[in-house]
Assembly symmetry: C2
Homo-oligomer: 138 residues x 2
Amino acid sequence: MLSRKTQYAFRALTCLAENYGKGPILISHISEEKKIPLKFLENILNELKKADMLESKKGKGGGYMLKVSPKKINLAKVIRIINGPIALLPCVSLNFYEKCVDCDEKHCGLRKMMTITRDATLKILEKRTLHDILFAGH
Amino acid sequence: MLSRKTQYAFRALTCLAENYGKGPILISHISEEKKIPLKFLENILNELKKADMLESKKGKGGGYMLKVSPKKINLAKVIRIINGPIALLPCVSLNFYEKCVDCDEKHCGLRKMMTITRDATLKILEKRTLHDILFAGH
DNA sequence: TAATATCCTACCAAATTAGTAGGCAAATTT
DNA sequence: AAATTTGCCTACTAATTTGGTAGGATATTA
């Protein structure tokens, strides 16, 4: 399951996607509109910025904005930044690979099943974008 | 990601699947062969038994065994017993549904994306079985 | 320089994870 | 019947993760 933090991230990004092209949006605005604890949201947006998904402006008239179009931000990317691996096992993860202890990967049947699962999941999460979330919402 | 406990469960079940039809297998045997901490494994096997996936016998000649053929135990079932929900959001889970706070499900775009993802994942995890794990292993 | 925002460091409580310890209960064997 | 073998049950614990909060530093604008 995705952490609550990741759900918050998606909500915040949806808000920024809705306002794409309209200049910086205040954290406090997103916090109120999407009912996300303000200080927690600060952390989240900052992480997304460090991962190069957002840009920010300080001072009056400041806030956050998407760095690229909502159509170019896929769901897998967001999940990887805030939540971590998408695969069900570390030994199957493309971006967070870790070797399992006491497991011969070449002959691990479980690993093969989880690889298939990962591919099916990624096929969807890497194709759908923030724009799709907006569009599916009505 | 699946918990380590769930990985242990799969390893143990694989061992029991390999020995299906050969009578009870000792916890201690599984523990050694699959390198799983004995007492922890006890808990795991007991949970699987309570979920009606295994049967057990006490005393000499005792141990655990699969209640049905490895071909009839799919991966989704194991995950749900030991790990919990398979869906990425609680509001999308079929077996562990929980309402999200401040979210209108009818018009939640994220929910729709996660429903599609869940369906793709389940299509695989509910079709593959312990037998497939064995078979894929060589 | 005052006001407005984000940024940064550090802390905290609650929940979850990954076990361990020790004895009880039921079979089986002697 | 007693001893042995094996799973069953309850409880505890340490480490990690999750979901935040507090307070000030820093940058921008007016």
